[in-house]
Amino acid sequence: MPKILLVEDNQDSREGLTRRLERRGYKVIPAGDGRQGVELARSAAPDLILMDINLPVLDGWEATRQIRGADETRGIPIIALTAHALTSDRQKTLDAGCDDYHTKPVEFPRLLTQIETLLKAGAGAAAEG
């Protein structure tokens, strides 16, 4: 069962998305701010991270940079959950080291496709390496 770290400060969004992901067979590790996200990325070793950008304590950009900066978490795929189509934000997210982005509100079928694509690519890379 693939593990997804969901970093999202809004409790409703976090719980709702957790339930929807669990219904699809994922195990979800919730985190409420950027620092928790960075810590759980290390301690829980998720297969993928969904990272909100507007986060307290540590914002999504900085959290992503720290996750990318540490050896044990460097390879975890990250999908940024961004606010409505600010193109500069989108570019910034990719520049910060995210593998993909998803504009909120979540379009669940599309998000699932993005998750599956990255997990498959990760599995392929792991098999090769």
Partner: protein, 500 residues
């Protein structure tokens, strides 16, 4: 002696000029004096002007009616008549029977005896009261005008200024008058002022020249100059009457308005962002309920959940449009340029729009050659623009055809993409065309109620097109259909966001 006067026609061959009659009937005050200033003849107009009977005037010295200083002036005028045969514009202020002093000018010419010797003068007085009043009025107009007014000659030398000029520049009038205006402005502006004077000569007027005169304290004051021609009695332009307008307040107000407008846009952006967080939760949990209802076969709940979901999505679209527009208006909209395949993009947009087309039983027709190639543009904005046009077409058409035609078109060495979206729908009334691309320009309130939508889509689409150096145009016939055309350069040039 008692015989009746002979009929004039009988003895005179034609009209004879009789000087005394000419004088008597002249409308202006005319008098004849000897060289000492004794009045020999005066007409009714003189009596009228002075309020004395003719017999109170005749045989009197003119000096009886004027002051001692003016008597000297009158004597000088008589000397000039003797010497030159004429004198012009001597100022006399005779006192009337009621004691009023009347400003007049005197023009006089020589009265000669048959041998040509000057024996007196014929004087014509001109009542200057009205003219003096008019002149004083004109001067007071300038003097008391709340705006700075000056009169200059054609070289830019200042001939007259008013109090407002002194106030504005901090110079006394005598420090300004007879100075060239160029003393108070920069060399570049002197050129501009010279050009303005030329325009005054050519067109009689110049408007909104920008001058920034330097005050006595060295402050530079932004002003605009409107000037009109000053003409001599023959209509020749001899100078200019300029009105300066202090633009400091206006510039300040304009700046304040811009700041306020940016603050409004920022506020809108913040509000729409805050509104979206709870809305995201509403959409998320509605979708969760929809999934669970489907799992538990609670089919009766589905229509209600679908309505909640549709309303929430509509609200989200509204908020996103408002956010887009506030970004446009605050100049924060950036272009994110990339090169992408046009047919692939069209296919994606069409896939998204298909459910909308089906809802009104419309046929979707696509004409986009698969080898059309790539465009360098902001793909999100191109998609959003096309999506707006297509969703409008689907919304306003029932059991009709919605067609997308895409092609390339070289214009003057530049390659353009042309995206045409046409429908066979309700069309647009001619009187609604003007407002079509304005915010909330949706035809009629009834239209908005029936068809929904934010009324912002076309305004946003147009701004997107303009930002990318393109344009959007429309053709429509009510009851027949509408065709919207977006033209974009194949290579959109990057441009920095408007900074403030």
């Amino acid at each position: 002696m008692t015989s009746p006067e002979p009929a004039p026609e009988a003895v005179r061959p034609g009209p004879v000029l009789r000087a005394d009659l000419i004088i008597a009937n002249a409308p202006d005050p005319v008098f004849v004096s000897d060289l000492e200033g004794k009045i020999l003849q005066a007409n009714d107009a003189v009596s009228e002007l002075l309020g004395f009977r003719p017999d109170e005037v005749l045989e009197q010295s003119l000096s009886r009616f004027i002051s001692p200083e003016e008597t000297r002036e009158f004597t000088a005028a008589l000397r000039e008549v003797v010497a030159k045969g004429v004198t012009r514009n001597a100022r006399l202020n005779p006192r009337t029977a009621t004691g009023e002093v009347i400003p007049t000018t005197l023009n006089a010419s020589a009265l000669r005896d048959p041998d040509g010797r000057v024996i007196g003068a014929v004087g014509i007085l001109r009542d200057m009261r009205e003219l003096d009043k008019a002149r004083a009025y004109a001067e007071s107009l300038i003097k008391n005008a709340p705006d700075p007014v000056f009169v200059s000659d054609l070289e830019g030398k200042i001939l007259q200024t008013n109090d407002a000029v002194s106030q504005l520049l901090g110079f006394r009038p005598d420090e300004v008058i007879e100075q060239s205006l160029s003393r108070f402005i920069s060399p570049e502006e002197t050129r501009e002022f010279t050009a303005a004077l030329r325009e005054v000569v050519e067109k009689g007027v110049t408007r909104d020249a920008r001058l920034s005169p330097r005050t006595a304290t060295g402050e530079v004051i932004p002003t605009t100059l409107n000037a009109s021609a000053l003409r001599d009695p023959d209509g020749r332009v001899i100078g200019a009457v300029g009105i300066l307008r202090d633009m400091r307040e206006l510039d300040k107000a304009k700046e304040a308005a811009e700041v306020a407008n940016r603050a409004k846009s920022q506020f809108l952006a913040n509000v729409s962002h805050e509104l979206r967080t709870p809305l995201n939760a509403i959409i998320l949990y509605t979708e969760l309920l929809q999934e669970e209802a489907a799992d538990q076969h609670l089919d009766a709940m589905a229509p209600d959940l679908n309505k909640v979901h549709a309303a929430a999505k509509h609200l989200l679209a509204l908020i996103n449009d408002v956010l887009d527009l506030s970004k446009i208006e605050s100049g924060k909209l950036e272009l994110h340029l990339e090169t992408f395949d046009v047919p692939a993009m069209i296919q994606e947009v069409v896939t998204t729009i298909e459910p909308l087309a089906e809802r009104n039983a419309n046929t979707l027709r696509i004409e986009c050659p698969p080898d059309l190639g790539t465009i360098h543009a902001d793909s999100t904005k191109v998609r959003q623009g096309l999506f707006n046009l297509l969703s409008n077409a689907c919304k306003f058409t029932e059991r009709g055809t919605v067609a997308v035609r895409v092609g390339r078109e070289p214009v003057a060495g530049t390659e353009w993409f042309v995206f045409e979206v046409s429908d066979t729908g309700i069309g647009i009334a001619p009187d609604q065309m003007d407002r079509l691309f304005e915010r909330f320009g949706q035809g009629l309130p009834a239209t908005a109620r029936k068809y929904g939508g934010t009324g912002l889509g076309l305004a946003i689409t147009r701004r997107f097109c303009q930002l990318m150096g393109g344009e959007i145009t429309v053709n429509s016939q009510p009851g027949v259909g509408s065709t919207f055309v977006i033209r974009l350069p194949a290579e959109v040039a990057d441009r920095p966001p408007r900074s403030s």
